[in-house]
Every structure is written in structure tokens, then in C-alpha cells.
């Protein structure tokens, strides 16, 4: 049994401007101790997927319209609020991009840590305080006795994120969801925090879902990757496999559009033309089709499901030998992935059908 199994998750937001199709049938599994990266741009549904797991979607707009989120054999979508509250923090913890908005500004770090620990464990205040001290030391905060009595604003961004990690790991959760944990931090501080996160997760055997737009961060941090676009998982593979043999045109485009520190000087960037789709329109066909150089006529009408690139393969959904799967009618060949364009003689991307233009 997997630690977490998400099946056909559909999330919509009902807003004044219409229904936003945020997550359109996402499925993936996660084993204990695994580190999974969810990569994609803003609006691709990577954060919403995880807020749905935590049942923390903004109310009243956010709705889980379908699917299952099975955690340790239990469908989280069927739990009532008090059962869910019991689980949050203890079994599944989350850290966010901006620690300032997730820490209470009018409580000291000690009050917040003791509160978290005592909400889930029957321990005395002094025991909880001792544990807090231990945690701050563990995440490398200097002078932890003094720092416990400080307020969040007295910490720098990197230190605040360390405090968040300390609180998140206080109860040794089975799963830690880290949503862009280092995006707000400088690169030298990012290196400190990622290093810490990786070390602690390995020590405690915590499974991690790392949500980020930064392919560099996931390359060093994760063992598996799901690439998301417009509410779909479009490609799923082990991290080395995905970087070495990307198949989905969007993944290929992402890898070519960011400058690499180790690129040859003068190597041109190949941008992905166009803009991400408007999620207020119900998806018809593949959402990447309008920007895709590989598109066929079928791409305008039908969204392909996530299928193994080797069709005879037995599908493995977790672990280092995970099956490389892609949701694409016309995936890039390895040569095309290197060239970042279709190389087939006479191939032109299929024109949009008349009604899609209108």
C-alpha cells in the first residue's frame, strides 16, 4: 500500500468571473520516505492539488468535485473536519513560500511551537518547551533559548523558514508538503534551507512533496517528478529519466527556455511561445496545443491520458523504477527533445479547428 494515493482529483473554483478549472483529474502515488517534485508554472494546479490533500482549499470558492485522496488507507475527502484537524500537523505537515504569512505575528516562537506540540501530544508545557528547544537546535538556529522568546518579525527570511521547518517536523509527520519553500529566499540562503530539508527528511524518513517552478531545485532534491500544466499531470518519471529523456513538448520547452549556469556561452534560449491558457474555459483537447509545435489535429479535441512511453511496460507508480509516462498524442523523440522542435520531414503543427478559433 502506498502512503498517499491520489486518484482522479478534480478541483474547481466558483468565482464571480466563472468557474476556474484548477485541477482536472490528477492521479499519483507516493511511498514512505520518497521525495516527489511537482513542477509547473503559476496556475498549473500544483499548489491547489496539495491544498486539496490538506483540505485547506479557500472557502467558499474552492470545491473538490471528484476523486480520492487515500492517505494510509483512509480517504481524506471523507473525513470530517475534526478528524482532519487531528491529521494535519501530526501526519501531514505543510510549509509555505512565505513564512511570514504562516507564522502568527503576535505570538512568540515558543508559544507557537508549544501550542502545536500540545495540540497533538499529551505533554506538559515544560516538556513541549524542551522539545521546541531541541527542534530549533536541530534546524540550526543559533542561541535557541533566546530565540524561542522572539517574535517572527525578529527573524530573517531564512531563519523564519527554518522555524517553519522546525514546527512542521515537530510531530514527525509521515508526509511533508513544501510549497515553494525557498522561492522567497536568496540563493545562498536557499542552499542552506534545501540542505537542511533534505537532511532532516532523510533522517526522519519523512516523505516530501516539493512544489516548485524551479527545475534546478528539483534536480538536486527529488527522486521523482510530475510535470503539471493547466491542471493536468502531463509527464511523470524518475528525476534522472525526466531530465535525460523528456518527452512532453511542454517539458522539453521548459528545459530549453531557462538559462543554465553551465550553458555554453552564446547558447540561445528557445522560449515557449504564447501564454498559459485561461482556466475559466473548460479544457477541450490538450491545454498545451495552442503553444505546441508538435500538435496534431487530435490535440485540439482530445486530452490524452498519462500512458507509459514504452506501451508494453508494467506500470510502476512509485520508487526509483517508476514508469516514465506522458500525456501526449505526439511526444517528442529524443532527438527532437534536444533540438526543441519537431524534426520530421514536412511536419507542420495542425491548424486549430474553425470553432476553436472563434
Amino acid at each position: 500500500m502506498h502512503l498517499l494515493s491520489i486518484r482522479d482529483l478534480v478541483v474547481k473554483f466558483r468565482t464571480h468571473d466563472g468557474t476556474v478549472h484548477a485541477v482536472n483529474g490528477v492521479s499519483f502515488d507516493l511511498d514512505e520516505g520518497e521525495t516527489l517534485g511537482l513542477v509547473g508554472e503559476s496556475g498549473c494546479g500544483k499548489s491547489v492539488t496539495n491544498l486539496a490533500v490538506m483540505r485547506l482549499l479557500p472557502k467558499p470558492a474552492g470545491h473538490i468535485e471528484g476523486g480520492e485522496v487515500v492517505f494510509q488507507g483512509q480517504d481524506l475527502l471523507r473525513l470530517d473536519e475534526s478528524e482532519m484537524r487531528d491529521l494535519r500537523g501530526k501526519e501531514i505537515a505543510m510549509i509555505f513560500q512565505d513564512p511570514m504569512t504562516s507564522l502568527n505575528p503576535v505570538l512568540t516562537i515558543e508559544e507557537q511551537m508549544v501550542e502545536t506540540i500540545r495540540a497533538h501530544r499529551r505533554v506538559s508545557k515544560s516538556q513541549a518547551r524542551a522539545r521546541s528547544l531541541e527542534l530549533l537546535t536541530m534546524v540550526g538556529i543559533p542561541k535557541p533559548e533566546t530565540r524561542l522568546r522572539n517574535y517572527p518579525h525578529q527573524f530573517s527570511g531564512g531563519m523564519r523558514q527554518r522555524v517553519m521547518i522546525a514546527i512542521a517536523l515537530a510531530l514527525e509527520p509521515k508526509l511533508l508538503i513544501a510549497d515553494e519553500p525557498t522561492t522567497a529566499l536568496d540563493v545562498t540562503i536557499q542552499a542552506q534551507v534545501l540542505d537542511l530539508l533534505q537532511r532532516l527528511a532523510a533522517d526522519l524518513g519523512t516523505a516530501v512533496i516539493l512544489i516548485t517552478h524551479d527545475l534546478g531545485v528539483v534536480a538536486g532534491m527529488t527522486s521523482r517528478l510530475n510535470v503539471m500544466y493547466a491542471g493536468f499531470v502531463v509527464e511523470s518519471a524518475s528525476t534522472p529519466d525526466l531530465f535525460a529523456r523528456p518527452r512532453h513538448p511542454y517539458t522539453v520547452g521548459l528545459l530549453h527556455s531557462m538559462p543554465r549556469l553551465d550553458a555554453q556561452p552564446g547558447e540561445p534560449l528557445i522560449p515557449i511561445e504564447g501564454v498559459p491558457p485561461d482556466l475559466r474555459r473548460a479544457p477541450v483537447g490538450c491545454p498545451f496545443a495552442p503553444r505546441c509545435a508538435w500538435r496534431l489535429e487530435s490535440c485540439w479535441t482530445g486530452m490524452p491520458s498519462l500512458e507509459p512511453i514504452d506501451q508494453t511496460a508494467q506500470i510502476v507508480t512509485t520508487g526509483p523504477n517508476v514508469t516514465h509516462r506522458v500525456a501526449c498524442w505526439n511526444p517528442a523523440t529524443p532527438d527532437e527533445a534536444v533540438a526543441a522542435r519537431p524534426l520530421r520531414e514536412g511536419f507542420t503543427p495542425a491548424a486549430a479547428p474553425a470553432e476553436a478559433v472563434a
Binding site: E41, S42, P142, S156, G158, M159, D186, V187, T188, I189, Q190, A191, Q192, L194, D195, Q198, H213, D214, L215, G216, V217, V218, A219, G220, T239, P240, F243, A244, G253, L254, L255, H256, S257, M258, P259, R260, L261, D262, A263, P265, E267, P268, L269, I270, P271, I272, E273, V275, P276
Partner: protein, 394 residues
Amino acid sequence: MSGVTGQPAPGAAVGVASTGTEPGRPLLEITDLRMYFPISSGILISRHVGDVRAVDGVTLAIQKGETVGLVGESGCGKSTVGRTILRLYRPTSGRIVIDGQDITWAEGSTLRAMRRRMQMIFQDPYASLNPRMTAAGIVSEPLEIHGVGSSSERRERVRDLLATVGLDPDYGDRYPHEFSGGQRQRIGVARALALHPDLIVADEPISALDVSIQAQIINLMERLQGEFGLTYLFIAHDLSVVRHISDRIAVMYLGRLVETATSRELYDRPIHPYTVALLSAVPIPDPAIERKRRRIILTGDVPSPSDPPPGCHFHTRCWLRARLGNPERCVVEAPALRELASGHAVACHFAEEVDGSPEQVLQVTGEGMGGSSSRRADDSPTGRVAAAGPGLAT
């Protein structure tokens, strides 16, 4: 103000030629620039109790047609340098010379005239465009302020500019909220181009954009530079982006430049311990490389610019100083930026001790300098070139 009516479309030589630059002279020269922001305290009687030394003695020259990247972490003063150059602030001391003309203390009409030649592209395309003005109005505003052309000529020029940056000229009557982030940044670029500037200061122009859109804007800026002979000061925190777009890079830490070099040299042979650590911290999107890389993990945070450490500002976090047995000189004497190789200047007393080689980084991380034990590319370009090149090994 004469000779500007009926300006040709961007790209035609006339507008640029009117501001001919003497060959060999840098377009922009800043010398020992300081920008302190006073901190005051007291309710009735405001006392000056200290300064935030955002820029603390920066010297930099930019040649015409060149792109200089200014990198550093948040709070290092890189944006303040850009804004002071455009004289959005009145500098505390130092000199700013554009094309031979000293504008350090320029005011009024002199300053306004100079500003035609220097424009800015801002980070946030949501905050830097007036939501109540149409795209055409935004792009046309600099032309109106400087009284360029008749209204019909301006209209024509705005359409040209929108087309130049890759927007449909017919979208001119739309408002900023009707555009995507990338399109908004294109409007910001068109506005910066409107007056045929020589120098464009781009302050984190792509960091607010989605990854797939960033490359579009970088490529646009590169194309425009080729077409119009623009000079860029490209300010950003992302070393990969800065390395891609810049001819030369200046690395800044706590208000001072610590290293300047061509972007190739800086990457192949970083010398300042801060640059070495910064480069080692940038993640590379390639798991095979990441697995083997070692990072120099700097301890602690950047000190406050209102109370910077004495001597070398970096000494509190410096891995090299720790290796050398914490020499006193770093604490008492601020290192000057000195040229170690042609075009490669470093502000470090012990620069000769650094070679940026993998062996050295391994030694550093292996000595428990708070380093990660897991990564370092033995085959990283840093390593390859440092090993093959002349090197400054001890």
C-alpha cells in the same frame, strides 16, 4: 528639443546618431558612488541616528552597446545603484558621468534632458503600469513629456513601438489588466524604448514572470539591443540569467562591488570567496550534475546595511578567512577592488588564495564549514577550466 519631430521608426539611424558618443569613452562611468539613506529617530525633534549604507563606494564603467549584469542578493544595494544612476535619488557622494557629462548634481531641465537618454524597465509589470491608462497612453507618455512630435506622429510611433516589442498595435487601446504578465512587460519595454535611450537600466525585468515567459522577454531584450545599439545595466539576483545576457558581470555584497569580470571569466574562474559560494549555490537543472556537486553553504545571514561589519563586509561569513585562520586584516581593512587579470577585478586581501577549483571546494566542504557533503560536480565547467587555465592556485 529640436530635431526630434517626426522621428523615424526605431531602428533608423537618425535618432541614435544625434547623440554620437566619442569612441573609447564609456557611455556610463560611476566613481565611488555612495547612497546613504538616513535613519532618524524622535517624535518632535528628529535626530539623525545613523545611515542605511545601501551603496557604499561603487565604481563601474559601462561601454556603449555592452550589457553589464549587476548581481547580488536582496538588500545588497543593486537596485539602489540603478536608481541612483538614473538620478531617481540624489547621491550622498561620488560621481555619475553619462557620455562625458557629469549628472551627479544635475537638476531641473538639465536632468530632464539627460533622462531622455536613460530609461528603466521595472520588475513588476503589474505595479509599474498605470492601471487607468491604455497601453498606447503609457507608451506615448514619455513622448508627450518631452514634447516629441505632433499627436498624430506620436500615435504612429506608438504603433511602431508596440509592433517592435511583439504586440499587436491594435491592442493600444486596451488597459494593462487585459494583458498577461509577459505582455505587460513588453509594454514596459516599449515605454523604455520610446525616447531612443542610450542606456536602459533593467531592474529584475523577468523575475515576476512565469518561467516559460522569461525567455521571451530575454530574447526580446537581446534582439532590441542588436537593432538599436542599446546599452543595458541588467540588475538581477539570478546568476544563470545574468550570465546568459551579460558581457560583463559585477557582483555586489552589502553596498560594495566584490568582483567584476567578463561573464565567461567570472563563471570559469571566480575568485572572490563570496562569488565562489554564490556560484556553487545556484542549482543546475540536471540531476546528474547536481548529484556530484558540492555546495559551499555560507553560514548565517547577510548583516544589516545600517550596521555593516568593519573591514571587509563579507568577513563574518567568509569561508576563506576561516580557512586562513581568521586573519585580523579582514576585520580592520576594507579591501579595494584590484585588478588581478585583465578585466578581472576582485576586492579581497587574500584573492591569491582562491582558485575556485573543485579540489578547493571539496576541501572547504570537507572541513565541516557547514557544507553539504553530497554534491559537487567534478566535471563542472568551473572545475574543468580552473584546472586547465592559468589559475591563481596557492
